[in-house]
Amino acid sequence: MVSCQGFLEKRPEDFLSPANYYETETHLNTALNGVYSTLTKGGLYANHMLGRMGLDADEGYNLYNSDLNTVSDYNVVTTDSKILAYWVALYEGINNANVLLANIDRPIMDENKREQIRGETLFLRAYYYLMLVSRFGDVPLILNPAPSASPEHVQIPRTPAHEVYEQILQDMEASSHLVPDIVEIGHGGRVSKSAVWGIMARVCLYMAGEPINDVTKYEQARNWAEKVITSGYHKLNASFSQVFINYAQDLYDIQESIWEVEFWGNGSGLYPSNAGMVGRNNGIGNTQDESIGYAVGVLRGTRWLFELYGSGDTRRDWTMAPFRYVGNPGVQTNWASSAIYNRYCGKWRRIHELVSPRLAARTPQNYPLLRYSDVLLMYAEADNYVNNGPSALAYEYINQVRRRGYGKPIDSSDPDFDTSVDLADLDQDGFLKELQNERSRELAFECLRKSDLVRWGIFIKRMKEVMDDAMNTASTTQAKTYYTNASERDVIWPIPSYELGINKKLVPTPGW
């Protein structure tokens, strides 16, 4: 039988195994790419999150036949495939991060480089948990690869949301000491100290609001935002629209765009899944003229958002394009002034893309995960809470955002500096209200709104307000359906039916 041992010893030749990988610095970097690639999954930023999962809440709604009666129009069921895809993509990313972290100390390599990889991985894992906990509530918290296939190692119960948040903060803080400054990286595609601090501010605000209500986190939020602001690396881009043209053209502006998802190419050839649908899903509808770039245009704004902008605010017509393309060649044709609900999201315009040809199915546009204006607004919001009213700095930061929106110089040292659009003399609530609105004016359609409404505890109120308006003024049935469908239970998504079936330690989310 001894001679048989050799004959029976067959080893896989066509795939790698963890046992024989993670041996070099290159291996770790390759694994880190794998962890990053989660962001480009169709279930996340490449496709579904772009106007197809109701994340835009009162800012805009979904108008897309393929999405009828799904989470896209708040017809949420526990079997919804987009919700499951979201869950699956994130947990696969978390597992990839866990396996990398478990093997990270194996290669002999430069310790600084190792620690940077550790920092990026810890942060990404924490960010994926943030995406889960903010949209599902209590979720299984898994920080190590499963040691065996036995049920106790793979059937993990839900961890209370506040504990998940604590873990997120802890990992992100650890990460903040390990990753480099953004100027060292030189672009927004990788995790930098600025990105970690800025996202930590976001985490703290989520914890401070519903449903965790840990108000002590406001101060921490302000501190983390402050670290970004005082780093000296960041400044608002003078042109609001240029921020988004930069994403379309693969140009980096690390002063404004702190962290973004890297999409690449037009979807042809070997890397179809490295390109995304930014501008295709959430662009200005054009289904005929390929030279402009095909866009389904699933995302349309609401009259509420439209009317939020003051006159002279350049952000309005960039955010909700006043035109669509008609015919081939596509002619920019303005909407009737009454057709507010028809306006497409205009932040992501394919016409600016440089990659050619502009194919119908995918786009190269990057997508922002953290912009500097968000950090400024987070500071202002936290500060308003901590000080029981806005401080001078809070005003300064929100007004920087506003000035840029109105096309005014931001910097007081600028000779044309102009404070005519500045906010002033607001009490704490008044400031909060303006801040909430300002977040929409500035950050509309950037996948932030629903979470903001939820943490402020005004999600259903806002949805029903828009519903009332849509019932009276919207010309599309789908605008009405979207806001009518939204209900109390929609503040979070249900745990997917699939997961409930397999993991008996999970309990269904109340209400589903």
Binding site: Y21, N65, P140, H187
Partner: protein, 1162 residues
């Protein structure tokens, strides 16, 4: 060329019996042959036609004349000829029967044809002097000592000398062998001695000498002895069988006009469930023996083709006409010799070898037509438009009414497009098979070839096969025999896979869905546009692909080549001890080609089509080799103890590879596949795998007088699929059998002609997992790449499989009790088997929570039991000279139950992939105590009625259907709230129907009347349900797709005008992605599976054509099906696996086949 045989016989007892068996007994009782002349009459080449003319001919002369002309031999007592009358006849070219009738009409004799013999006897009682004569002779003979006995040994018909038969004198050493004329001479034999006469294949006979010096001995064919069954690593006489083995009547299955034997196997053997997923041409069959052991792994049996074990053969590679026998080993004692791979049963196929003698050419061919006679009834244009108006009142009113300026009534009576008629066709099939075989006593050969061509009933689909085979056997000398066998086949299966779906479009990419759901009417009123355009331009919906055009333009081909080459050498080392060395290779190649131009669903330039016009090529190769070395020893102790033993050592290895690439955005579509190089490179695939198996085996048989039989086997297997610690599996078995019919006391029970009790127990295994499933895997798909600073994406690696080094053999223990009973001289044969199989350590591809980062992990968990009872009844219902009716009936009951799952788990849920949100719902539940896979979902409860509402709101005590309470309306689907909490959610899902049949079986009938033979075969399945998923989309449109036609049955939906309907209102289907009992249907069916009518041309025609036989026949397959199932066909399982059976979605329709054919050999 022949001599006249005149037998003058004196019998001790009443002479010349009326029945053949009685005659035999008389022979045994010392028939004295007074006169004998050489009996080497051959019927070959002799005409059956008789011509006798003359007046006053002696009967003797007439007899001689008939013998001369026909080769028949008359058997009569000379003395009685005195009583004969002269014959005056005028017979020209009459049949033997007519001639005999004519010649004997006035004679005091009766006659009877027995084989090639015509026995003539006196009407009425015998003449008394016969007995006196005999006594006189006996007296004369007894006066001598040590007589010389001469004799001749022939078969019972007396026309075949048994060359090589052994004659020995009992209790002495004297033994002689009969010469080529069957003659022997024994000198100096005691006049009272007894001769023992034996010959292979014949019953041993004891013949007392009793002073005879010239003995004619006829040996009876040992019918049961002849039925040597090929089992694992050897053969066994059927009577000595200890295990449970199903024998396929190969002649019967050949009557089915199908491409391969497995397609004709359903219902033939008790306990062997054979089904196909749907009617797709060229797709394989699912064969499950005695219930599935594994839950997620393949349950198909091991195939052993001419001794070569193959787990997944191309059954289509074997020409049905080359098959000599198919035996199905069912119990553990039979299968344990195949150890690790025997747990699912073993199908043993032997192909034909050449026979010594004149070379024979055979031809069998048929041509025929296939068609589908049923259709799903769809809504007509009026009903369709009416439904659309309800579905989207605003947009559809504009679309169908306002814009064209019409009323709904205008659509009434409009003839819609029947898309089913456009897609389906009457297809043709043909098959031709030609063989040449023959050889000498030393060397035998066989060469054959076949062509099979079958169009599918869906346009542009079908199956073709070319196959050739040679076999050569040579006997060097008494000790050494060699043989080779080479089979080559090449087949092609082409056309759209009707039930398959592609990633993004999901359910809407399935062919039958597209066909059923396509609009029957346009607004423009020009049907031709809709028929000719690649997609529905009027609606502007790029997902609505014209299925007929698409099918016509698609290229999807699967080419397969298969070479099986085998050789063996047998060496008899010493008497009884034989070494057998066998080797073989099995090389298989699969080449998949696909090309989708701009008029196909996958190549149409739509915004969701990332690939544009695209093509792909994939090539897989598998090379298996096997080497088996066995030593057999066979011996007898004394007269009654027979013993044989087998030891063996085998090696088997497989190497496989798969390479493929895609080309996308192909610019010149007219070039087809050859234009792929102008396109952009797409995905590239490469895989290499392999596994190996080392085995030791042995078996011991002990047989006492064929009365008590014992078998024990043991096999050890080592497989490369398992880690070193878990590599070896050990599989013992044992069986005993008692042929109680050979006991003395059974002599008093004359109606039982054969009786045997069997019992067996054993362990078998299963290693059906991937080559490297135990290794955790990392992968570097392009989707794991990530761009850095807008660089070309950089390689990324992700974890893609968990692996599990602890994986080990799955083992099945089986106990079987069997009873074989032959009644009324084996005219009735009954076989009953009861069994219980317990499968432990199931190799389970277990779903795991997605939060683990994995979808499934391989584990050994749980225990499954299959227990059942099988009955097989073979009867000869009528047997007369002209007419016979034989039937075979079998029925099998199997109960499958899960005894244990992983630690602490009470159930497993499983799902099928076919449509968006449904993919995330579970449709199957496997619970401890229940069967593997029952349908699982919501209990359908009709619809909400008006009385369930108050002020437009659902009453608080009425449960929801999972939708938000506020949006539920009258006419919405309703489900039962099982836990009574007012909300129907995952906690209310229950078992909603069994998937496994209660019993399955078949009923086969063969009728013969003169030259006609009729085969009628029924097959059934009873008690299983089918989930008809077509109805989810096409009877209620639960996915809310606009412009989608519906089944006609949905006309009866709930509406304010039709408030009593149980069928939910338009858009009232409740939350998407929920499976309910609404579409669980009874899948029982009885099918008239095969009918074949053949006519054998009479001798006169055959002779004129100078052939040995010529049959013409008509065969039909799937002629009628009786079922309550509302879909196209109840034999359906388009996502077939042990945990996901009985799912129907867009199945390829099953065709009815009618053929005419011809068989001959010369």
């Amino acid at each position: 060329m022949h001599s006249i045989a005149i037998l003058k016989i004196a019998a001790k007892v009443r002479f010349l019996p009326t029945l053949y068996p009685h005659l035999l007994r008389i022979m045994k009782l010392n028939v004295v042959i007074l006169l004998f002349s050489c009996l080497t009459v051959s019927a070959n080449g002799l005409a059956q036609k008789v011509t006798i003319e003359g007046r006053y001919l002696s009967i003797e002369k007439v007899i001689h004349s008939i013998e001369k002309q026909t080769g028949y031999v008359f058997f009569y007592d000379y003395s009685m000829l005195d009583k004969a009358k002269p014959v005056s006849v005028h017979i020209q070219g009459a049949s033997l029967d007519v001639a005999l009738k004519e010649c004997f009409k006035d004679q005091p004799f009766t006659y009877e044809r027995i084989g090639k013999t015509i026995v003539v006897k006196l009407k009425g009682s015998l003449a008394p002097e016969t007995k006196e004569k005999e006594n006189l002779m006996l007296r004369e003979a007894s006066e001598q000592e040590g007589i010389e006995v001469k004799g001749i040994i022939s078969d019972i018909e007396g026309n075949k000398p048994l060359y090589g038969a052994t004659v020995s004198v009992k209790n002495s050493t004297i033994t002689v062998i009969a010469d080529k004329n069957g003659k022997f001479t024994l000198k100096n034999v005691d006049r009272n001695a007894t001769l023992l006469v034996s010959f292979i294949g014949y019953e041993i006979k004891e013949v007392p000498v009793n002073n005879q010096t010239n003995i004619q001995i006829q040996l009876k064919l040992a019918e049961e002895e002849l039925e040597e069954l090929v089992i694992g690593y050897g053969t066994v006489a059927k009577k000595d069988l200890t295990g449970s083995v199903g024998i396929v009547n190969v002649d019967d299955i050949k009557k089915a006009p199908v491409a391969s034997f497995d397609q004709a196997l359903a219902g033939r053997i008790a306990g062997v469930q054979v089904s196909s997923n749907d009617g797709q041409p060229g797709e394989g069959m699912n064969i499950v023996i005695r219930g599935g052991n594994s839950l997620t792994q393949d349950n198909s049996p091991l195939y052993v083709i001419d001794g070569f074990p193959i787990e997944d053969p191309f059954n289509e590679a074997i020409n049905m006409n080359d098959i000599a026998s198919i035996n199905v080993l069912k119990d553990a004692s039979s299968t344990a010799i195949y150890g690790s791979r025997g747990a699912n049963g073993v199908v043993i196929i032997e192909t034909k070898q050449g026979k010594a003698g004149k070379a024979t050419v055979s031809y069998d061919g048929f041509v025929g037509l296939l068609h589908v006679n049923n259709r799903m009834e769809m809504m007509d244009p009026y009903e369709f438009v009416k439904y659309q108006l309800e579905f989207s009142p605003e947009s559809m009113t504009t679309f169908y009414l306002t814009n064209p300026g019409r009323e709904l009534e205008d659509y009434r009576g409009v003839k819609g497009i029947d898309w089913q008629d456009l897609l389906l066709r009457v297809a043709s099939t043909q098959s031709h098979s030609l063989s040449l075989s023959g050889g000498s006593a030393q060397t035998r050969f066989s060469v054959s070839g076949s062509i099979f061509d079958q169009e599918g009933v869906i346009r542009n689909s079908g199956y073709q096969r070319y196959q050739a085979r040679t076999s050569l056997n040579h006997t060097f000398n008494k000790k050494v025999k060699i043989g080779t066998n080479l089979n080559y086949s090449r087949d092609l299966n082409y056309g759209r896979m009707a039930s398959s779906i592609e990633g993004n479009n999901q359910s809407s990419s399935a062919l039958m869905y597209q066909t059923w759901g396509y609009r029957p009417v346009t607004v423009a009123g020009d049907d031709a546009d809709l028929i000719d355009e690649p997609f529905d331009e009027e609606t502007g919906d790029p997902y609505r692909i014209n299925p007929v055009l698409s099918v016509d333009n698609e290229i999807r081909k699967r080419h397969r080549s298969n070479v099986i080459a085998k050789g063996f050498i047998d060496y008899e080392i010493i008497k009884g001890l034989t070494l057998n060395i066998r080797g073989g290779i099995n090389y298989r190649m699969i080449k998949d080609e696909a090309f989708y131009n701009s008029r196909t669903g996958r190549g149409y330039p739509s915004p969701n089509n990332l690939r544009g016009i695209n093509g792909s090529l994939d090539q897989q190769e598998m090379l298996d080799w096997v080497n088996e070395n066995t030593l057999k020893y066979k011996t007898r102790f004394g007269r009654y103890h027979s013993f044989d033993a087998l030891v063996g050592f085998t090696l088997q290895e497989r190497n496989s590879s798969r390479f493929g690439y895609d080309a996308v955005q192909v610019p010149n579509e007219e070039l087809g596949l050859s234009g792929m190089d102008d396109g952009t490179a797409g995905a590239i695939r490469s895989n290499i795998g392999g596994n190996s198996l080392v085995s030791y085996l042995n078996r011991i048989n002990y047989n006492y007088r064929s009365k008590y039989l014992v078998t024990a086997t043991f096999r050890a297997d080592g497989s490369s699929k398992f880690s070193r610690a878990n590599r070896w599996g050990y599989f013992p078995s044992g069986a005993v059998a008692w042929r109680f019919s050979r006991e003395d006391f059974m002599k008093d029970v004359p109606f039982i002609s054969e009786g045997k009790l069997r019992a067996s127990y054993g362990m078998t295994g299963n290693n059906r997992i991937g080559d490297f499933d135990r290794f955790p895997g990392l992968a570097m798909p392009y989707s794991a790449y990530y761009s850095n600073q807008n660089s070309t994406p950089l390689v990324g690696i992700i974890v893609n499989s968990f692996g599990n080094q602890d994986l080990k053999w799955e083992s099945t223990e089986q106990i079987d009790f069997g009873l074989d009973l032959g009644l009324m001289k084996n005219r009735i044969n009954l076989e009953v088997d009861v069994y219980r199989k317990n499968t432990n350590d199931l190799l389970l591809r277990a779903n795991v929570p997605r939060s683990s980062g994995f979808q499934y992990i391989y584990k050994n968990i749980g225990r499954v039991r299959n227990e059942g009872i099988e009955f097989t009844l073979n009867t000869v219902n009528v047997k007369t000279k002209k007419f016979s009716w034989e039937s075979n009936f079998n029925i099998a009951f199997n109960r499958n139950s899960v005894l244990a799952l992983a630690e602490g788990e009470e159930h497993i849920l499983s799902r099928v992939s076919w449509s968006g949100d449904y993919n995330n719902s579970f449709l199957y539940l496997t619970e401890i105590g229940g069967a593997a896979a029952v349908f699982y979902g919501y209990e359908w409860d009709g619809v909400y009625r008006y009385e369930d509402f108050e002020d437009g709101q659902l009453k608080p005590d009425i449960p929801t259907n999972g939708n938000d309470r506020d949006i539920i309306q009258p006419g919405d689907i309703r489900y039962k709230d099982m836990n009574g909490d007012g909300t129907v959610n995952e906690e209310d899902m229950v078992s909603i129907g069994r998937t496994l049949p209660v019993h399955i079986g078949g009923f086969n009938n063969n009728f013969h009347y003169k030259g006609f033979s009729l085969n009628v075969f029924f097959q059934w399945s009873y008690g299983n349900n089918i989930f008809n998923a077509n109805r989810l989309l096409l009877e209620g449109n639960s996915v809310h797709r606009q412009q989608l036609n519906q089944f006609k049955s949905y006309i009866d939906r709930w509406s304010p005008e039709n408030p009593d309907s149980d069928m939910f209102r338009t858009r009232g289907g409740g939350p998407r992605g929920r499976y309910s009992s609404r579409t669980v249907e009874d899948g029982s069916f009885l099918r008239l599976k095969t009918v074949s009518l053949a006519y054998s041309m009479p001798k006169r025609v055959v002779d004129v054509l100078k052939v040995n036989m010529l049959d013409v026949y008509m065969s039909a397959q799937n002629l009628f099906t009786w079922t309550n199932y509302s879909g196209m066909d109840p034999e359906v399982s388009v996502r077939n696996s042990p945990l996901t059976p009985g799912f129907d979605y867009s199945a390829y329709p099953r065709a009815r086949t009618v053929t005419v054919g011809l068989r001959t050999n010369f």
